[in-house]
Structures are given as structure tokens and as C-alpha cells.
């Protein structure tokens, strides 16, 4: 409404007066407006302006000169996506890793929070929380460095497995593609399970103690209390987080995979985000990379909106 008043041509007197009073109001909050508009300016400069570059997905741009001078090619790059032999592998890796992370990694923080809640010593509870949050704050470069050294031929994993007599020859884990998914999923769980549990721990903390007392009086054991008191009380939190996790299924952990991937394990490690990076920056196919990135961004947007509307409907509360 206010925006309309701003652009209206002042034809009659009442409008004129209204316009002056709006201007006066605007002037009155000029400090606030400058503060807000600086944020808007940032968004325009660093978020909206780069979107102009998306046009190169419809052009043949090779990185030199101005984008507007590059020749138009229409949908050519998008058609090329369907003929790209790498595409199947890249999508399979993205969805495979994401779905397995979801399947295995999603329940673990919940189970962890449930058992943490049953600890009798609050002090010990705090200590365990502090320790398990820690890996979340370490970078993937450091963890990648540890993993690469542990998984090497003379690394901890081979040493332990050979010591136990489980394998006879050392295995080059990161050079054999079939181990890659397991490595990525296990290390991601190791890094994030404690942190992901925070939200459940908070949800559990807000459960009324009376519920537990009542359950105990009714003769419920520890597992029954978990099953019939704790779990139902955090069901809402679980479903929201699950929906949002499904919504971001196309986003693989770029930082993690970029550190751990190499040319030998490429067939199992190349995911969409990595592919967009490599064909764009390393091979210089700017236009094609932008086309793949755009399609991925649009599908991801659709999934996120879908997930958001689902969680809105379920809990009358959503992220945004």
C-alpha cells in the first residue's frame, strides 16, 4: 500500500497531503531506513546481481570478455545435460549418499538424546554433551587430513584390522571407489551426531517431569518411558527436522567430499555440487556448468518449498 502511494501521480489534493505525510513519516525514520537499506543494498549486490550471470546458461560464454557479447545458444546446454554420460553417475552418487546419510544418520542423534536423557548425573550429561559437540566445530580439512592418514596403507584402520587378523593385506580405502560412500557417511555421522542431538535434547528438556513420575508410578521401566513418554513428546521436532532433511537432499556435503575425493574414487565420489565446480572452474565450461547449477538450484528450491509447506501444515510452524 505504501509503495503504491509513493509512485502515484499526485492529481488531487487529498493524495498530495497523504503523500507529504508518508514522506514525513519516511523522513522521521530515516535512520532506520538507512540501516535497513544497507542490508537491502548488500542483498542486491551480492545475492541478486550475480543472478544476472545465469544468462550464460543460454549463451556460449567461455570466460573471456563481457557476458552480454557472448552469442545466444538457447536451450543447447540444457539438452546437453540429458546426453551427458556423467550425469547418471553424478545423480546416483548425490542421491545415494544423501539417502543413506538420512537413513543411518538421522535416527542416531535421536537415540543418542534419548539415552543421554536417562543419565542420572547431570554433570556427566553436560560433559558428554560438551565432548560430542566438539567435532562439529572442526573443519573438514582437518578431519579429512586425519581420515586420509588413518585410511592409508600404513594407517590406523589397516593396522588395527590386520592386528585383529580380519584382513591379511592392507586395503587402500580411498583408492577403491566401493568404500567411498561408507567413509563419507560414517565420518559425517561421527562429526555431526552430537551437534544434531542439541535440538532433541532441548525438546526433551521441556517435557514436564510429572509425565515421567506418572509413568514410573504406573510401573514403566526405562525403555518404556523412552518409548511412551519421551519419544511421543518430541515427535513434532522429529518430523520437522526429517522433512527439512528430505527437502535438502540434493545438497551433499561439498566441503567434506572435495577433501576426500580423488581421481581414483571419482566414480563414487562425484556429486552434483562437485561436478558443477569441476566442469566450471577446472574445465572452464562456464556455460554448461551454469546450466547444470541452475537446474539443480531450481529442483532444490522446489523440494525446499515443498518441505516447508509440509512442516507448516503439520505443526503450524515452519522455518521461515
Amino acid at each position: 500500500m505504501e509503495a503504491n502511494a509513493e509512485v502515484q501521480v499526485p492529481a488531487r489534493k487529498p493524495d498530495n497531503r497523504r503523500r507529504t505525510s508518508l514522506l514525513r513519516k519516511f523522513y522521521g525514520q530515516r535512520y532506520l531506513q538507512v540501516m535497513a537499506l544497507l542490508g537491502v543494498a548488500w542483498m542486491l549486490l551480492f545475492h541478486y546481481a550475480p543472478m544476472y550471470g545465469i544468462v550464460i546458461a543460454f549463451k556460449q560464454y567461455i570466460g573471456i570478455g563481457e557476458i552480454k557479447n557472448a552469442p545466444w545458444v538457447g536451450w543447447e546446454h540444457f539438452k546437453a545435460i540429458f546426453e551427458d554420460d556423467m550425469m547418471f553417475q553424478v545423480i546416483r552418487n548425490t542421491l545415494g549418499i544423501s539417502l543413506l546419510k538420512l537413513l543411518i544418520g538421522f535416527p542416531i542423534p535421536i537415540v543418542f538424546a534419548l539415552f543421554l536423557n536417562e543419565l542420572r548425573s547431570l554433570r556427566f550429561n553436560r560433559i558428554v554433551q560438551t565432548i560430542t559437540y566438539l567435532p562439529h566445530f572442526l573443519s573438514w580439512v582437518i578431519l579429512g587430513g586425519i581420515l586420509i592418514s588413518w585410511l592409508a596403507d600404513v594407517g590406523v584402520v589397516n593396522d588395527v584390522l590386520m592386528g585383529l587378523g580380519l584382513i591379511k593385506e592392507p586395503i587402500f580405502y580411498l583408492s577403491e571407489p566401493q568404500y567411498f560412500w561408507a567413509i563419507v557417511i560414517a565420518s559425517d555421522i561421527w562429526k555431526e551426531f552430537g551437534w544434531s542431538a542439541i535440538i532433541y535434547i532441548a525438546a526433551i528438556a521441556s517435557i514436564s517431569p510429572e509425565l515421567y513420575e506418572a509413568a514410573t508410578i504406573d510401573g514403566a521401566g526405562r525403555f518404556q518411558r523412552m518409548r511412551y513418554v519421551t519419544l511421543p513428546s518430541i515427535k513434532g521436532t522429529i518430523s520437522i527436522l526429517f522433512i527439512l532433511a528430505v527437502g535438502s537432499i540434493l545438497n551433499s556435503n561439498f566441503d567434506q567430499i572435495l577433501v576426500l575425493k580423488n581421481q581414483v574414487n571419482e566414480s563414487m565420489s562425484s556429486v552434483i555440487d562437485i561436478y558443477v565446480y569441476e566442469i566450471g572452474i577446472k574445465q572452464g565450461r562456464f556455460s554448461y556448468s551454469a546450466a547444470v547449477g541452475l537446474v539443480k538450484g531450481l529442483i532444490a528450491l522446489f523440494l525446499l518449498l515443498l518441505a516447508n509447506s509440509f512442516s507448516k501444515r503439520m505443526n503450524q510452524s515452519s522455518l521461515f
Binding site: E2, A3, F26, Q29, Y31, M35, A36, L38, G39, V40, W42, M43, F46, H47, P50, Y52, G53, I56, G63, I67, L116, L119, R120, L122, F124, I127, I131, T132, P135, F137, L138, S139, W140, V141, I142, G144, G145, I146, W150, V156, D159, W190, I198, I199, A202, G221, L244, V259, D273, Y277, G280, I281, S289, A290, G293, G297, L301, L304, L319, F320
Partner: protein, 296 residues
Amino acid sequence: MFTSDRRTSGELWFDRLNVVGMLIICFVTLYPIWYVLVNSFNDGTDAMTGGLIYWIPRQFSLENYEIVFSNAGIMTAMGITVSKTLIGTVIHVFFTAMVAYALSRKELMFRKLYMVMGTVTLFFSAPLIPNYLWLRDLGLLDTFGVYIYPAMFSFFDLIIFLTFFREIPDGLEEAAKIDGANDFSIFVRIVLPVSLPVVATIALFHGVWQWNDYFVGVLYTNSDYLQPIQTFLYRVIAQSSSNQIVGATGGAINRTVTSQSIKLATMVITTVPIIVAYPFLQRYFVKGLMIGSLKG
């Protein structure tokens, strides 16, 4: 938590196993960090020849650290990391909080429009290459500014600030207004000081991100003197470009260090600030996290 002292033997065993399980989890979490620490304090050539070292240094040595600290390249990278973390975090927190405060005021004209513009940024952004080209055209490639300006604002963090600012009683601001203070000085003098928990939370998240990020350095910079320590380590670890590390070992006359042992010492030095700062900030972030509902 529930102090009924008459535990059945089943309950007793549950508690014991639970504690044991948690201890195992803590061990699994901490051990890899311990392993790196121990090996970084071990003589490099000894570590390479005599089997793996699991618990304590076999041949204690500070040489790895001496070499790291006397290496100009590593120290420059460390300096870049420290400065981009400090500068980037201060600017990010101040700028994001400032915009959030303006948007938290109901009387702000066009507030809806600004909010919609911000919300869009959460759902869709330009793909990697268009973004890269734009920063190139802005002249930000291979400059220190590329670490700061594109990261100085986040709408996600703005929402967390916004939720917190709404809880501040209006009375505080009204009193200052009567004294003739403008909105900016109300924000700086009154709103920021009472928002310490949320400021600390966002500072922690952004600071950790700045400290840990290696990809901005990989993607947008070429010059060695501009690469942060994480980018340096990425190139050494993942791309096994050991030139820089070999350069570092070359200076030593009695070489008991290896590229591996220097790598480990660098990793420890890179991680120590996070581990030291972490307990101080931890008490804030759990609280701050709950204010902003979800993040991470």
C-alpha cells in the same frame, strides 16, 4: 535425574551400561584428536620407521612445531586466517544485527518488501559460476576483501537476531528516544549491549565458519600470501601438493621431521584456537540456538 533410590537390578544395569556406552562414545569422539596431537609431538623420522604410535609420543620432539612456527608461508597463512576471522566476524555480526534491528521495528516502512527480499535469499541463489563471474567483475578476485564482503550478511542469522530483538522491552528504547537519541545510537548503545547471548552465538557460528572455511580461498584466490591456513592445508592434504611442506623441511639441517609430521603440527596449531575458545562460547550457543529455533 529421577531420584528414586530403589532401583531394580534391571535399572541398575541399564544405568551402568548407559554410562559405559557414553564413555565409549566420548572416547571415539576424542581419540582421533588425541592421535593427531600425540603424533605431532613425536619425532618425524621415528614415526615413519617404527610402526604406528597410538597413545603417547615414542620419541618426544618439539621440532615439528619449531619448524612450523619458523616457516614464513605457514605463518602468513595463519595471519590471514586470524585477520579474516576477526575482521569478518566483527563486521558480519555488527552489520547483520544492525539490519535485523531495523527490520524488527514494526513502524519501518516497506518492511514486508525487505523481508520478502531476504527470505528469497534463503531459498535460491545464483549457481557457482555466475557467482564467480560476478565477484570477478567486482574486482574481488584475489583480494582480502573476498573473505569479508560477500560474507558480511546472512538472512538466516538476521532471523535469529530478529527473534531476540522482539523480546526486548519497548520501555528501554522509549526512554532513550525521549532523551533525543536516534535509532542508530539506540541500536549501538542500548540494543547491542543487552543482546550479548545472541551476539555471542552468531559471532561463534560465523567465527568458526571463517576460521574453518577453505573453499573461498581455493576458489577466489591465487596468491600464496592470501591463502588462509585451511586452504594451505587443503592443498597439502587433498591435492598432495607437498612442495610447500617440503620447502618447510628443507631449512632444517638435522632433518628429523617429515612432511607428515609437519602437516600434523600445522593441523594441531590450526585446531587449538577453536578448542580453547569453545568452552567459553558453549554456554552461549545452546541458549542462542534455542532463541533462533533451528540452525546448523
